[in-house]
């Protein structure tokens, strides 16, 4: 008999609409529509009697939800509303069979390439440094005349994990005297990715061009 009133209380409590609050979040870096999409799973707009709601302006996001959910949303926004990290990409364009004299600027890469391939020497043709953020694309022409190259990079993502960073990017190299090369790369900060393929030049101009890229996060 004593359980009956308690059951009623519980039933009433279950059916009661939760108390909603309204909170406005100022966005520093995220686009409001992106932020709104990001927090949608935390906003119950189908809740009977007390639907959650999101509205946004050019710089703010206003959410009506329970206090608990607003706290969760605040935590999500704090996690993601951060400036996009910049990455500096160091490129070297190296010609295989280009020279016999060692070049200290490519010494580390050359050491490893000599263990892999039979090329008699490696010559640094040119270097370039490009910077960008996630979801940006950058390009640069380097060299001159027939030795001109065009480097294109689409930076898909820059993630920091503990003390290091990982850059996901599409890199493409074109030259005026032959075909280019390109690849999707996931490189961690400080790692040098060496890209190569067969260049089908003709006669004495037949050569293999190698592109190295090393990302460095700008902090």
């Amino acid at each position: 008999m004593r359980a009956f009133p308690l059951f009623l209380l519980a039933l009433v409590a279950c059916n009661a609409a939760p108390t909603l609050e309204t909170r406005t979040f100022a966005l520093q870096h995220l686009q409001p529509d992106v932020a709104a999409t990001m927090i949608e799973p935390y906003v119950y707009d189908q809740r009977d009697g007390a639907p959650g709601r999101i509205t946004h302006t050019a710089q703010t996001l206003t959410v009506r939800e329970t206090a608990d959910n607003l706290d969760r949303i605040a935590a999500v926004l704090a996690e993601y509303d951060k400036p996009k990290p910049w990455v500096r990409l160091h490129f070297q364009i190296i010609e295989a069979d280009g020279a016999r004299a060692a070049d200290p600027r490519i010494a580390e890469v050359e050491t490893e390439l000599r263990k892999l391939f039979r090329f008699t020497g490696y010559r640094l043709l040119t270097e370039a440094v490009m910077s960008g953020t996630a979801q940006s694309d950058v390009s640069q022409a380097v060299g001159e005349g027939e030795g001109q190259f065009f480097i294109e990079v689409v930076i898909h993502d820059v993630r920091t994990v503990n003390d290091t960073g990982i850059v996901a990017m599409q890199v493409r190299l074109r030259s005026l005297i032959g075909l280019g090369l390109g690849s999707q790369i996931n490189a961690r900060e400080g790692q040098t990715v060496v890209l190569g393929n067969t260049q089908v030049g003709e006669g004495p101009r037949r050569s293999t061009v190698i592109l190295t890229v090393r990302p460095e996060l700008v902090r």
Partner: protein, 147 residues
Amino acid sequence: MIPCDEARDALLVADLAELDGSRASSLATHLASCPACRALADRVLAATNALRAERAVGPRRSAEAAAALAQAEAGRARRARRARWALAPIVAAAGLAAILLVRGGPESSLPLAARPIPPPPPLVESAAAKVAVFTTDNPNIVVVWQF
């Protein structure tokens, strides 16, 4: 019709059948009407055919069999190098060739100079792309070779 820059990117990964026109594709259509890209395609075909002629092509193997063979060949090459066996480079090259033969696409256009020499590092073949990824003794350097 696809533009020239797109066609030249596609040249890097196209099947030879597309390059010689025996298989219809947007690239093949472009090559049929663009002399400049046609010339590039001919150079790719010539380089690939030249390499085919230089290399003895064995039967295609499963990926597992080829990888096992490559490992065995690599180990043999290392032992041979220690024994100063003069044929070690050829053995190592054969190991890589076995890996490359697994691919369903065109034969490798690796130049002779670009064939690996012993001791070959661990090789990872990407099934999706025509690339070989070489880890190196330097943990900060990885080599991605396209063919």
